[in-house]
Amino acid sequence: MFEVLLGGLILGGMYGLIALGLNLQYGVSRILNLAYGEFLIGGAFIAFFAVMSRWQLNPLLSLFASVPIAFVLNWLIYRLLMVPLVRRAPDQDALDADVVLATFGLFFVLQGLALVNWSGDLRGYSFLAEGRNVFGAVVALNRLLAFLGACVLALALFLILRHTRVGAALRAITIDPVAAELMGVDVRKFSAIAFAAGGALAATAGMLVSTFNSFSATSGGDYTLKALIVVIMAGVGRVTGTLAAGLLLGVVEQMGGYLLDPGLTLAINFGLFTLILLLRPTGLFTRA
């Protein structure tokens, strides 16, 4: 029982980790990036190539390449592709419709390019694949690393948002972009930065996840969907809520699988999500 709970927490940490960047993107820039998972997979592939290269690098070192690349690419996507849509849209609903289509297109194009270049084979490598005893239950070290990574990133993001000038600007945009603009915040610039930072977080999450999950060029969509579920459960723009919602999802999924039927984990996942969407469409951790 305790092992199942711990497994749920570890899994939930991963869910929170992959959703952090998406929540930053959607919360601040108001862009629902459905191509998000592709950057996650991009980070995973860069880590894979670093490990498989001649020098057999530590996958953590691949972050020095994948984070800047993802940051710049996402920044360019926001500036070149999203800004025209933001300018054109009369309201958030119209913007959402346009953005959903545009980022779906981007998702298909990126996935197609990944398939052409890297084929559809499942990839994976071994890193820190050894058990550790945690309060009497055995947990793989690489999963523990991802869990700690999730906590550290969420905490860092929380502190940045809470205690820095940039963070204050980002929070102001999350609450009300128009009012933020009137207060002298350069909304375009900070939205672009938040969007790019979200992409960088995706690449980081991808590297951490790739240490214990195998992946292929087509698995980006699954991660986007998981991240989206967590973001909508948490509430848009809630950083600590993202981690909490991820943990909740992980625990419910594992417990449900253990108590009811292991074949039902995905159904429980989507059931919980649809239930929360129906009861609290604005998310669990938003102020009423």
Binding site: D98, L101, G105, L115, F270
Partner: protein, 349 residues
């Protein structure tokens, strides 16, 4: 409808002739072409049904695959017990009822929430069906019918024509106007006295019934089905993009988008480049053709008359209004200029 027919006899004659030719087509062409036409009709019917609700109300639904799959499963289970026409009707009814339930509980979600919800719902139904299939040891359900390819072709042709005609007819009735009013501004629509929930749920369910029926008819040509065939969410995306590419604002718009997409898929089938092409179509719809192709065709048709054509032939220039939208060379120039300015702005940041 009859009044419109009396006013436009020439168009009606042409349409009737066209339908006759399509109905006789299987006698004239190879079975490969018949198969391709079945695929085209299925996509056209699905895209028209999708646009009937989602195009007018702007509730973007990704639940096409869910209703399609419900139809498939209903037929796969029922065809052993009921005569085929009854089983088909029951499948459509199943789609209608499922959509009624879903609609009543969810249509207050708007925007992205609705999109994500419909997607999640498809996956939920998929997983539950898959799980119960494993439990009851019926992972693959075999289909035993003696429906021939030509019969499937004629049935689907009928469904497709009916869907387009019904969508066109309803768009001219009170319900059609109510749907469009909801799409423009739902609060205003409610205040003008439209029972928005009733209209939305009924139309959502009607469009779902067509989707389920198409799924059921397509099932007749498979030897067996399973959950991942029935609830394959690629259907949702392809139908969505076909409708938006063609133009969801017109009853015939989705057909214009679906036909080239099916042909493209037929050419690129199994190739990795279909994904990329589909993605580029999405991007093109958003940035270049926000209203789809249908408004363009209407403008060209409106600008088409003998005098303009004579002028065009004499001068070698396209008549006024035949461009992609007014003065496109100027717009292109301005667009490039604005793009360069934006690139310049990039370095400043």
């Amino acid at each position: 409808m009859l009044e419109w027919a009396r006013k436009n006899p020439s168009i009606c004659t042409l349409l009737a002739l066209g339908v006759l030719v399509l109905a006789l087509l299987p006698q004239l062409v190879s079975s490969y072409v018949v198969q391709l036409c079945i695929s085209i009709y299925a996509n056209v019917a699905l895209a028209t049904a999708w646009a009937f609700f989602s195009g007018a109300t702007r509730y973007i639904s990704l639940a096409t695959a869910a209703f399609f799959g419900v139809g498939i499963y209903a037929l796969a289970i029922l065809h052993a017990y009921l005569p085929l026409p009854l089983a088909l009707a029951a499948s459509a009814l199943a789609g209608f009822l499922v959509a009624l339930l879903v609609g009543l509980s969810t249509l207050r979600l708007r925007g992205v929430y609705f999109v994500v919800f419909t997607f999640g719902l498809t996956e939920l139904i998929h997983q539950v069906v898959n799980w119960s299939a494993i439990k009851s040891r019926t992972v693959t359900r075999y289909i035993f019918t003696d429906a021939s390819r030509v019969e499937i072709y004629e049935t689907l042709l009928g469904i497709t024509l009916f869907t387009i005609a019904a969508s066109w007819y309803v768009s001219r009735t009170r319900h059609g106007y109510a749907l469009r009013a909801i799409g423009e501004d739902e609060t205003v629509a409610r205040h003008t006295g439209i029972d928005t929930t009733r209209v939305k749920v009924l139309c959502f369910a009607a469009s779902a019934a067509v989707m389920a029926l198409v799924g059921a008819v397509l099932t007749l040509q498979y030897p067996y089905v399973d959950a991942s065939i029935a609830f394959n969410n690629t259907w949702s995306f392809e139908v969505l993009i076909a409708a938006l590419l063609g133009g969801p604002g017109r009853p015939w718009g989705p057909a214009v988008g679906a036909i080239p997409l099916v042909l493209l898929k037929d050419q690129l089938v199994g190739s990795l480049y279909f994904t990329i092409a589909l993605g580029l179509c999405f991007v093109a719809v958003v940035y270049v053709l926000p209203g789809g192709v249908a408004p363009l065709i209407e403008r060209w048709y409106g600008a088409f008359d003998a005098a303009a054509l004579r002028h065009a032939l004499r001068t070698g220039r396209l008549p006024e209004g035949w461009g992609v939208g007014g003065d496109w060379p100027r717009r292109l120039k301005l667009g490039v200029k604005a793009g360069l300015a934006r690139l310049n702005g990039l370095w400043r940041l």
